[in-house]
Symmetry: C2
Subunit: 285 residues, 2 copies
C-alpha cells in the first residue's frame, strides 16, 4: 500500500495526539474516522471537522473500512484492543501506534496479530502538558521527530508507508530505529528527564519559593506536570533500561557533589566545560 489521500484512516483513542493526527490528515484530504470512549470527544471532533465519522464503541464497520489504523492507546490497552478487535480489520490493513516505548508493545502485538494485516510501530516525539482532543494541534509536529521502529517481521512497504505518514503529518524529521535502540534513547532523553523533574519538584516543600523562581527551575520542572497513569506504565514497560540510565545519572551527580564537598574547583570546572561543549550539539538547528 502506498500512502495517498484516498486512504481511509481510523484513529483509535482521540486524545491530544490522536486528535492532532486527525487534524493534520484532514488538512491533507484524508477521510478520518475515530473510535474513542468519550462521547464529548467524538462530538467535539465531529463539530469541528476533525473527523468525518466517529463512535464511542468499537464499530466493526468503521474498523473494517480503514486502510490505516492508528492506535493512540496506552500499551496494555493497545494489546487488549488488538486481541479483542482484530477480527474486524480489513485484510491488508496497516496498523501503527504512537506509544512512547516500543519493545514492550511491538513484539507482543506482532505475535498476536492476524497474518494478513501488518503492525508497524512508530513514535511521534511530540506532546503538550495538556490533554484531550480539545487541545489537539498538529503544529506540535512541526519541529519534532517521528521515529519508525520496525522489527524483522515488517515489510519494506509498511516501513515506507509509515515513514510517509510521518512526513504527511508534518514532522521535521523522520527516522528509522530498532525498537531496542529507540527504548535506550528514549529512556535517557525522555524518561530519565521526567524522573529528574518529578524528584526535583518533590524534594523541597518550602512554601513561597514560586515568588523567586527564575527560568532555570521552571525549565527543569516543566515536565513535572505529568500524566501519572501513562508515564508510570511507560516507565514499567522500559524498566531495566530506565534504571540503567537513572544509575548513570546518579553516579555523575554524586561525582559532582563530591567535587564540591572536596572544594575541587578544577574538577567542577572541567565538568562544566564538558557539559558546555556537549550541550552545543543539542541546540536546535
Amino acid at each position: 500500500m502506498k500512502l495517498t489521500n484516498d486512504k481511509r484512516v481510523l484513529i483509535v483513542g482521540l486524545g491530544l495526539i490522536g486528535g492532532s493526527y486527525a487534524k493534520a490528515l484532514v488538512k491533507k484530504g484524508y477521510h478520518v474516522s475515530a473510535i474513542t470512549r468519550s462521547d464529548s470527544s467524538i462530538t467535539y471532533a465531529l463539530e469541528n471537522g476533525i473527523i468525518s465519522e466517529g463512535s464511542t464503541s468499537v464499530d466493526p464497520k468503521l474498523v473494517g473500512e480503514a486502510d490505516i489504523v492508528v492506535l493512540a492507546l496506552y500499551p496494555q490497552v493497545l494489546l487488549d484492543w488488538i486481541r479483542d478487535n482484530q477480527q474486524y480489520l480489513k485484510s491488508g490493513a496497516v496498523i501503527t501506534d504512537v506509544t512512547g516505548v516500543k519493545c514492550c508493545v511491538v513484539y507482543d502485538v506482532q505475535k498476536l496479530l492476524r497474518k494478513d494485516v501488518e503492525f508497524i510501530a512508530a513514535h511521534p516525539m511530540a506532546g503538550k502538558e495538556v490533554y484531550g482532543v480539545e487541545n489537539s494541534d498538529d503544529a506540535i509536529f512541526r519541529k519534532a521527530n517521528y521515529i519508525v521502529t520496525p522489527t524483522e517481521a515488517n515489510t519494506k512497504e509498511a516501513v515506507a508507508l509509515c515513514e510517509a505518514l510521518g512526513w504527511e503529518l508534518g514532522f521535521a524529521r523522520v527516522s528509522v530505529l530498532t525498537p531496542e535502540k529507540h527504548d535506550d534513547m528514549i529512556g535517557f532523553l525522555s524518561q530519565l528527564t521526567h524522573c529528574i523533574a518529578v524528584s526535583l519538584m518533590n524534594c523541597n516543600d518550602t512554601p513561597g519559593m514560586e515568588a523567586y523562581t527564575g527560568d532555570s527551575f521552571r525549565d527543569l520542572t516543566r515536565i513535572a506536570r505529568i500524566n501519572d497513569k501513562m508515564w508510570s506504565e511507560l516507565f514499567m514497560c522500559n524498566r531495566e533500561m530506565l534504571l540503567h540510565h537513572m544509575d548513570a545519572f546518579s553516579d555523575a551527580f554524586a561525582t559532582f557533589r563530591q567535587m564540591l564537598a572536596d572544594g575541587d574547583v578544577e574538577g567542577m570546572r572541567d565538568a562544566m566545560r564538558k557539559s558546555t561543549v556537549r550541550r552545543a550539539l543539542f541546540d536546535k538547528k
Copy 2:
C-alpha cells in the same frame, strides 16, 4: 539619597548584566559611566550610547563622581575592588552588586567598607547563555525578580533606594530577603538546577542522540551551557547550603528509583501527582 535620574551611576564590570543595567538606566535619563578591563567593551558601549564615559582602569575621577556604584563582578574580585579602591568613593555614595550569592559577599564587604558610604546587596535574577556587553539587553529584566538582601548594618534609606533601582531597571517583581534566606532559596532554585543539568549532560556520551532530542531534554540541559569560572566560584561561596539541597534531591531521586525497581506503580503515581500539583504553583502568572 532618593533615586532620581540626576544621579550619576557607575557600573564596574561591563558584561551582560552590567551592560543591561546601563541600557535600562540610560533610557531613563541617568548619566551612566563604566569601568571594565576590556577595551573593546568600553569602545562598544560608548559607540552604542550605552555609557557616557568609560575607562579600562580604575579612574579616581569616575569613581569619585558616582552617586551609585554597581559592582557587577565575581565575588572575590568584588572584595578586592573594594579593598583597593574604596578611598576614591564619594562620601554618601551607595554601592550595590549583582552577585548570585549573598552571605559570602555582603558581610565581608560591609566589614571592610568606609563608614561614610553604604553597601546594599542585591541579586537581579536574570541572565542569558551568552556573555559580554555586546549581548546585553534590558528586556531580560522584564519578567524577572530583583531581590534586595539587606543586613542589620543597612539603613532603611539604602534599602528603599535599592528597591527603587530594581523597579527602575524594569524588573517585574522586587523583593527583600535576608542574605541567608536568599542563599538557601538560590541554592535550591538555581544552583541545584545547574548541578543537575551539568550531570545530566555528562552522564551519557552516546553519539548521535541530538537527532532524536525532544523539548524535555533540551529544557533540562539548557543551563548545562555554563560559565565555569563564575558558577564554580558561586557554588564554593554557597557550599554547605548547596550540598544540603543536592542531598535532598538525591534522596528523592533514589526513592523514585527504588519504587521503579520494586514495581511500585502506586508509589510512582503518588510522586507524579504530587509533582503535578506542586508544579502548578510555579506557572508564570
